[in-house]
Amino acid sequence: MRTIEPWVTEPLERFLQESQARLVLLTTSSGQVVAQHGFSRSLDVMAASSLGAGIMASTGAIADLMGSSGFGTIVHEGTRQSLILAAIDTPRGRWLGLVVFGRETTVGLVQLFWNVLARELLARMPATVNAPPKRAETFERDLDASLRSLFGR
């Protein structure tokens, strides 16, 4: 596992152990990668991060059209692997989680432990952070900077 913010490591490791998920990617909504597990190439993280943010944005737009306040979680069930995209609203803005899991676990278990992880992250999140506010326009730059930190390129 690789994390930009060390306080995330322990709850995320516990989530991985309990949920038996294969891949996890935790990002801010502006594209900064907070932590990842299971990805071996920065290119994959970049693609997954961008696609995840895009899916959440487009389903948010659908929710607007439906007059709903938004979708907190999106589940895609595949035949061999499935995917959960979930948002956590934090004092530092919205974080997005992308979790890939196989048939060794279930969508119910992954969702259950994701909810536990979300509560733990909110409880442990440092109150202040000395970083400028993130904007959609800086998505690519933020993503690239966090990938350099994670993969050392």
């Binding site: 279930t106 119910g108 259950l112």
Partner: protein, 117 residues
């Protein structure tokens, strides 16, 4: 015809000491129906009971015991009973530690028998 999950669950919750019961799709660990006391988490019960049951069913089959008909776990604060039916479905029952296991077992097997019929 839609199975009468609610009727089966209501019968189970009439047993003294039962805190709730859920019908679970064990493959997904998701509750299809539930009857629970206030404060009981049906989604958590469904996810955990589904995971435990699927593993035990596979394990008992692999050990040559045949498919499991009923599983129960007794903890310090309660009792969890689960029984599969209809392929990948199961009923999970959460009860107080003081509940009569024999009565819970009987009601559970009755409920899954009725739904499987």
């Amino acid at each position: 015809m839609k199975p009468n999950f609610e009727g089966a669950l209501e019968q189970l919750t009439r047993v003294r000491g039962v805190r709730g019961a859920v019908v679970v799709d064990a493959q997904d660990g998701i509750a299809l129906a539930g009857a629970l006391r206030d404060g009981e988490d049906g989604d958590a019960l469904a996810a955990l009971a589904g995971a435990v049951m699927m593993r035990l069913v596979r394990g008992s089959d692999a050990a040559g015991l045949g498919p499991a008909r009923l599983v129960y776990l007794r903890g310090d604060d309660g009792l969890l009973c689960a029984a599969p039916f209809g392929g990948t479905l199961l009923i999970a029952v959460l009860a107080d530690r003081s509940a009569n296991l024999g009565l819970v077992r009987l009601a559970l097997l009755d409920a899954v028998g009725g739904l499987a019929a």
